[in-house]
């Protein structure tokens, strides 16, 4: 059967450095095609060429038997190719319905009509999103849903999903996979980029693996297993090494109690949460999206404020603290590495060094009115090496880096402040397998150095592998503490759900 989309010898180079090189790719009608590869392997670039976000430097693309070359995403969308981006591209100051209809508005629009049809459409997809809600008020998972709904709404024949499940809960993932299957039965072809290899194996019909911008393997999903994919992705076997269960003998002992959070409350999101954090340990916090984990730690970091009345107490080294700005927390040695690196973590169009310098400024470790470029350059060189940030050169802007390397810049920005407590919020979200191992190593090293580390994660194997103690969050409060040696996925999930 003739594929709906075929790419031949596609090369895309940035500043003469090829991101993808002579890649052949084809997509059949009504198939789910998983695209997997390491951080910087060229998956996003290849799909951006498909969707008209960037133009290929060389190569040929045919769509429905016709040679095509999309100059803009709009052209691709008109032709029936839509892309759901890893970092959502919604307009935060517009409502969900307005975002859904953006680009396909009539000359005269009746807002009520748009809301009603958006409501019906979202319900048909089983997405519990209020069409009248402003996008900026939505969490990451719901934004992702709106993004997916927008692609489906444009009646695309090819939909490209870049890390669609990174921010979804297991329940939402099931809905999402059911949606993919429905789209497939309607003849829609799907390109699915994911770092969660189990998902690729579960949902896809075919898998294509890229490494360093080149095609390594392609074939039916039945021909692959997890180990074979990983071996093809990184050239070595990482399985079992990355997510193995901790045994009681290797758990770090609790040091001094540095942070004590007692009954803090913030509206309905955080309700009487209490926990302590100890030096020299990784405290893992697991909870479903909306369980208040992020909000709790953002209160600790001074980003959000707890309730004015009966808001509880936070003590740092037995000293009560109440932060009104994040800068106060930073100066007290609390670094928060955000889950939403695009809007909260980095200045995208600034260089690696400038971003790191921003971390120094926040900690008030850099004085004066003038930015010293020598310091910025030195920081970039030092931290690029320390955190193995893969970049063309140290002057590169963060937007030019891949997801995993952007995450390392966010981590570097926190660590440069010489913190005593480091809070990682979803540290490996949207990050490839090799970078996950590197970020895990950074987290372990920090705990070994005696820092108090808090890690929030929705990915159970990550929590179980990295944590020295696991706290489970449900409906705005910490409900249970477990030792990784005794914890099982079922036990943690039961506590998180009930």
């Amino acid at each position: 059967m003739e594929p709906i989309l075929r790419m031949e010898k596609i090369t895309k180079a940035y500043r003469s450095v090829p991101a993808v090189k002579d890649v052949d790719f084809d997509l059949q009608e009504g198939e789910i095609h998983a695209l997997v590869g390491e951080n910087g392997a060229g998956k996003s670039t290849l799909t951006k060429v498909m969707a008209g976000v960037v133009e290929a430097t060389s190569g040929r693309m045919t769509y429905r038997g016709q040679d095509v070359r999309f100059a803009t995403p709009h052209e691709a969308l008109q032709a029936g190719i839509a892309m759901v981006f890893q970092e959502t591209s919604l307009v935060p100051s517009m409502t969900v319905a307005q975002n859904l209809y953006l680009g396909s508005e009539s000359f005269l629009n009746r807002l009520r009509g748009i809301y009603i049809s958006a409501q019906q459409f979202l319900q048909s997809l089983n997405f519990p999103v209020d069409p009248t809600a402003m996008v900026e008020t939505l969490g990451a998972a719901k934004r992702q849903m709106v993004e997916i709904a927008r692609a489906v709404h444009h009646d695309a024949r090819v939909i490209i999903f870049d890390e669609p499940t990174a921010s979804l809960t297991p329940e939402e993932k099931r809905h999402f996979f059911a949606l993919l299957r429905r789209l497939k039965t309607r003849g829609v072809s799907i390109v699915f980029i994911s770092h969660a290899l189990e998902e690729a194996l579960l949902i896809s019909d075919r898998i294509t693996i890229l490494r360093d911008g080149e095609l390594v393997a392609t074939g039916a999903t039945t021909d692959f297993d997890r180990d074979r994919i990983i071996a093809a992705m990184v050239g070595r076997t990482l399985s079992g090494e990355l997510y193995r269960k901790r045994d009681a003998g290797h758990l770090r002992k609790a040091g001094r109690k540095v942070l004590s959070v007692q009954d803090i409350s913030m509206g309905q999101m955080v309700r009487n949460t209490s926990f302590s954090v100890f030096e020299g340990q990784v405290t893992g916090i697991f909870g479903l999206i909306g369980s208040g984990r992020t909000e709790t730690l953002k209160i600790v970091s001074g980003i959000y404020k707890r309730d004015f009345l009966r808001g509880g107490a936070i003590a740092l080294d037995d000293r009560p603290v109440r932060y009104y700005t994040p800068a106060e927390a930073v100066r007290d040695g609390i670094a928060y590495v955000t889950e939403d690196r695009k809007s909260e973590g980095v200045f995208e169009i600034m260089s690696i060094g400038e971003n790191l310098f921003g971390g120094l400024l926040a900690a008030a470790q850099e004085q004066g009115f003038v930015i010293r470029h020598r310091v910025v350059r030195k920081l970039a060189e030092e931290w690029t090496g320390r955190l193995s940030i893969k970049t063309i050169n140290t002057e590169a802007r963060v937007v030019e880096l891949s997801g995993g390397n952007q995450q390392k810049v966010v981590i570097g920005k926190g660590l440069i402040q010489k913190p005593r407590i480091v809070i990682f919020d979803e540290p490996t979200r949207g990050v490839d397998v090799a970078s996950i191992a590197e970020i895990h190593q950074i987290i372990n090293d920090l705990a070994d150095q005696g820092l108090a580390v808090v890690m929030i994660s929705s990915y159970l194997p990550e929590v179980m592998n990295l944590s020295d103690r696991i706290l489970v969050c449900r409906q705005g409060r910490i409900v249970e503490e477990m030792s990784p040696a005794e914890a099982t996925e079922e036990k943690i999930m039961y506590a998180a759900v009930h």
Partner: protein
């Protein structure tokens, strides 16, 4: 912020419950511990002349490993405290406020009618905790709900008379003679105090439950039994005066929203349904009214480790703990047994 001290006047002081982590990290040690003796409402443990004694209602039993408890003595009222002097003399306090020492009634000072704990110092000094001057020891929950602070601690030097060492306490419930003074557990304020000639000084504050009796630990330090947990609902009720008095006036005491020595006895109890049990599984982390908790305190009275019977357990209402012949024994009044767990 510079304005925080002023704002705090309007905010009020946060009432917080410390989390069960660090030395208080939850486990199932009490739940899994072997039963040393099954004894209804097992309460105060004590070692006298090499015998191991335990109180149960109006009776004192002698306990021995592998044998059924043997009845030693019966009293006309429930026993509220028991202690043994260095010479083997037994002091027994009853719920009617009387004190019997060596089989003879002893006159107690006016106002002492609720003896919750007794302890002899090595020099023979008798320490006495009077929980309240409003209620007998068995009505402890009423004293808590009324938020009384009428407890006192008394000492009687050998051959001397009782003198008051501290007053205005909120239910003193445990005594541990320490040098010339004593360590006292003050239940309603969730803390331990050092009572000495120099006055009263808190030594351990902000416990996660209601502390009960204390006993010395072999390697230095102490054991502390905590008989009930704190939870947000009870803290709220304790702040709502009118609600509390209405509850006390209209609802039977066993169904009050208050700490308990055991729970899950009746469907009329507060705190039920999804908060406690979901899909047939009783949640260990549920905010229960009863709990079992014993804490090992270091020589400086810093908590080192703990043994738990969690919300889904049965060995609740741990009121007394002693180390006897190298073995740790714990009385679970709510669980109707004496446990012999491994020391943590």
């Amino acid at each position: 912020m510079i304005l925080d001290p002023i704002l705090d006047i309007f905010r009020g002081q946060a009432i917080t419950i410390p989390p069960l982590d660090g030395a208080f990290r939850a486990n199932t040690s009490l739940e899994e511990a072997p039963v040393f003796a099954a004894l209804p409402e097992a309460d105060n443990l004590c070692q006298a002349d090499g015998r191991l004694l335990a109180t149960s209602g109006t009776k004192i039993y002698a306990l021995a490993e592998g044998a059924a408890p043997t009845l030693e003595e019966t009293f006309p009222a429930a026993i509220s405290a028991l202690a043994s002097a260095p010479d083997g003399t037994l002091a027994v306090a009853l719920d009617d406020g009387s004190l019997i020492e060596g089989g003879q009634p002893v006159a107690v000072p006016t106002g002492v009618s609720c003896i919750t704990a007794l302890a002899y110092a090595p020099d023979g000094t008798l320490w006495l905790a009077n929980g309240s001057d409003r209620h007998p020891a068995s009505a402890w929950v009423a004293d808590l709900m009324e938020k009384n602070a009428s407890g006192s601690v008394w000492r009687r030097a050998p051959g001397g008379a009782f003198t008051r060492a501290a007053a205005g306490l909120q239910w003193p419930y445990g005594l541990l003679p320490d040098g010339g003074g004593a360590i006292v557990s003050e239940s309603w304020r969730h803390r331990l105090l050092r009572v000495s000639g120099g006055g009263v000084e808190p030594v351990l504050k902000h416990l996660p439950g209601y502390p009960a009796r204390l006993s010395p630990a072999a390697g230095g330090g102490a054991w502390l039994a905590i008989f009930a947990p704190r939870n947000r609902l009870i803290e709220l009720v304790l702040q709502e005066t009118r609600y509390r008095y209405d509850m006390m006036a209209e609802i039977p005491r066993e169904f009050w929203i208050a700490p308990a020595l055991s729970s899950r006895q009746s469907f009329l109890e507060p705190l039920q349904c999804g908060g406690i049990r979901t899909m047939g599984v009783h949640k260990a982390w549920a905010p229960s009214r009863s709990y079992g908790l014993v804490v090992r305190l270091g020589p400086d009275l810093v908590p080192l480790a703990s043994l738990h019977s969690r919300a889904n357990g049965r060995r609740h209402g741990t009121t007394s703990v002693i180390e006897a012949d190298g073995r740790l024994l714990i009385a679970s009044k709510g669980g109707n047994c004496v446990l012999a767990p491994e020391a943590p």
